[in-house]
Amino acid sequence: MTIGVKKVSLQRTTRDQIFLPAILEGLLTTARHFFKNTMTKGMGDVDTIRYGEPGVDPKSYYPERFRGVHRLMFRDDGSVRCVACMCCSTVCPARCIYIVAEDREDNNEKGPATFVIDELKCVVCGLCVEACPCDAIRMDTRTHMTPTEAREDAVLRKVDLMSRGGPSVAVQGGLGADYRADAPAADPRFVGR
């Protein structure tokens, strides 16, 4: 099968330049959907769930993979799973994750001294969760970011993110408090001094 090629002219016509027809077209589309979804029998093709309607738990309507507000997961000893690899802050298209790494001075070596997410900048894309190699950051809270009165309040710190956290059962990054705890110890004959 040959694929047809449609050449689109990048030249702006007078019709494009006066903008008015395009605006009217847009309004028309909005109006069409408005009447279709509110006036027609059976309410068109959308279900409108009224948030907070008595007897309805809005969360029960949320799809499985709904991306809610972030949380940080724990190791078995309650410390944060994050190893400050910066994968999430690197992949984040909104550049809204700020991490400062520190030496944990235990066998996990590296962890975040600071972990901050600016939820106002976040575009809720979920890429940070995909990027995380340690199952440390998740968006499975099924809660929206609550509105705040001050901007600073929407900037979540490590404690805020960990307050929603829980233990993770992921194998990546290790199970126990020490990610190498499950690994056999070094053979003492070959360790040397």
Binding site: A84, T90, D103, N108, K110, A183, P184, F190, V191, G192
Partner: protein, 577 residues
């Protein structure tokens, strides 16, 4: 050429350099008794650490051989190896243990290639080129060997890239993505070895990540000649370690971090500081001493995070000293001077310049112009022009001498003492400056940089006269002077310095200066203009003139375009090590 030809001879292990005892810096009294005029130091063409395996490109007069690599015939220098020859036809044969600055060990076998008429694959790093040789670097047997060897190397590798400082610039990561890219088939536990072991002043060893290439061992033996590192145990349990009772404490130790192809050796200073892929790299020159090693400054958001050496065969080879790595600390954002200060008040730059011009005016005034070995040629030349306008007395100052050895470090810790002396003409010594200032011989003094050892007498003398200091950071001198003009640091300056060999070394700006900071030559030009004198020329014009004078291609290219060169984002550059 057949397989019976001898391999490339390894560099003899006799390159031990005996470090002379450090001469203590001369006491201040001795320095002030120095001769009245400062003589330019002799050209000390200390040899760069010799690189045993020169590049394959033939230079005029070299004997050459012709060989065919992947169907392309190429003429290379006789005696070079196939790996270097392949670079000339754009083939980057993947390798771990070969380093152009070290002897050849051929221990990793990652660089195997097929040489026709040869029954087995040959390590291209050790295979000397021969006339009429036919090499295949991408044949099925080679690709299979590469993949299999990588799998073997990864057998005991911990793959803790998330907490590994090398991730993003790791040769093992790159080769895995390019040549292996398969799931693990290992179902036995990996061999455990010591992690995060403190082995020296600067270095932390992770023996699990080590791929046993022995580059670091060869470096310690061949370059500083101290030989602290060694392999212990055999087979699966082979691991890198330090000799019992010793520590990796030589003056060049951080180079092992650069040459380590993986994250087995990491620098304490850079540990967990920032990820390699977040950094930008600007090629420039180390300001730590008169050697002027070629370096890359790695920075993020106008803050420097580390310095790594750049290859320059004539000056520093592949290496640099540990002291030089720490010179980025003086770029610390907290100590930066961002605004002009007059008599203790922050003022707009234009106001400060007008004040300087007003206070310096008057031909009868006795003015001292203090050139600096820590400023660029352009700045020193601009001050020379201003001194001529003012009829000022000239002095040259710099940092106090420090540690030296026969490799790279120079006792003269000023990057540009030669340039400063040349620009100032016959100038007086800093000892005399102290004496004369203390004796209130001048009504005004203008310092080109903030580095000068102050005595209390001089400090009080500076408070009493018009003292102008062009400084990029808060120093005792800057605090003692009545007027401080915010100058650019070496990381924001376009310019040049002259090293101990008399070579022109180029400084490239890494980021745009913050606040009111300006190039020193531009500040001096503004002072002259405010005094109603002629236009002395901008920093860029001066840099252009210096570039033409020395016929320096690098500086010519930098000054050719009015836009500053952009630093490279390390994410898109090649891996290091």
């Amino acid at each position: 050429m057949t397989s019976s030809d001898p391999p490339v001879p390894s560099r003899p292990r006799s390159a031990t350099i005996i470090l002379p005892p450090e001469p203590p810096p001369p006491p201040a009294a001795a320095r002030s008794a120095a001769p009245t005029t400062v003589k330019p130091p002799e050209n000390r063409a200390a040899p760069a650490p010799a690189a045993p395996n020169l590049s394959a490109a033939p230079r005029p007069g070299d004997a050459t051989v012709k060989l065919t690599i992947d169907g392309e015939t190429v003429e290379v220098r006789k005696g070079t190896n196939v790996l270097e020859a392949a670079k000339l036809v754009g083939r980057d044969i993947c390798h771990f243990c070969y380093h152009p600055g070290l002897s050849i060990a051929a221990s990793c076998r990652q660089c195997l290639v097929e040489v026709e008429k040869n029954p087995k694959l040959q390590p291209s790093c050790q295979q000397v080129v021969g006339e009429g040789m036919v090499v295949h670097t991408e044949s099925p047997a080679v690709l299979e060997a590469r993949r299999a060897l990588l799998e073997f190397t990864l057998k005991n590798h911990p793959i803790d890239c998330p907490i590994c400082d090398k991730a993003g610039e790791c040769t093992l990561q790159r080769h895995y993505m390019d040549h292996d890219h398969q799931l693990t088939r290992v179902d036995v536990p990996k061999i455990r070895k010591p992690k995060h072991k403190d082995i020296g002043r600067e270095i932390i060893l992770d023996a699990e990540r080590c791929i046993l290439c022995s580059r670091c061992i060869r470096f310690c033996e061949e370059i500083p000649g101290t030989g602290e590192l060694t392999m212990t145990f055999r087979g699966d349990h082979e691991k890198l370690d330090i000799a019992d009772g010793h520590r990796l404490d030589n003056a060049y130790s951080i180079n092992v971090v650069d040459i380590c192809p993986v994250g087995a050796l990491t620098a304490k200073d850079f540990r967990f500081a920032v990820r390699a892929w977040e950094l930008k790299a600007t090629p420039t020159t180390c300001q730590g001493c008169a050697t002027g090693c070629a370096i890359e400054l790695h920075h993020k958001h106008e803050a420097a995070h580390r310095i790594v050496p750049r290859h320059d065969a004539d000056v520093n080879g592949h290496w640099m000293c540990d002291e030089g790595r720490y010179t980025y600390k003086e770029l610390d954002a907290d100590a930066r001077i961002r605004h002009a200060r007059v008599d203790g008040q922050d003022v707009p730059l234009g106001h400060a310049i007008a004040t300087v011009a007003r206070r310096l005016r008057g031909r009868a005034k006795k003015v001292a112009a203090v050139f600096s070995g820590t400023a660029t040629n352009e700045a020193n030349r601009a001050l020379a022009d201003l001194a001529a306008l003012l009829g000022a007395e000239r002095f040259v100052v710099g940092r106090v001498p420090g540690k030296t050895d026969e490799l790279l470090r120079d006792a003269d810790k000023n990057a540009n003492l030669r340039g400063a002396i040349a620009a100032s003409g016959a100038a007086k010594h800093e000892g005399e400056l102290g004496l004369e200032l203390a004796g209130r011989a001048y009504e005004a003094v203008i310092f080109l940089d903030g580095t000068f050892e102050l005595s209390d007498v001089v400090r009080s003398a500076l408070g009493a006269i018009t003292s102008v200091c062009l400084s990029d950071r808060v120093t005792p001198l800057a605090q003692a002077c009545s007027i401080v003009l915010p100058a650019t640091s070496w990381a924001e300056t376009l310019g040049s310095v002259i090293n101990r060999q008399g070579r022109l070394r180029v400084l490239q700006p890494a980021w745009r200066p913050e606040g009111d900071r300006r190039e020193r030559a531009d500040l001096i030009r503004d002072i002259a203009l405010a005094m109603g004198e002629r236009d002395l020329g901008t920093n860029r014009e001066r840099a252009r003139a210096v570039a033409e004078e020395f016929d320096n291609e690098e500086l010519l290219a930098l000054t050719a375009s009015p836009v500053a060169a952009r630093p490279t984002l390390l994410r898109f550059s090649h891996t290091r090590g």
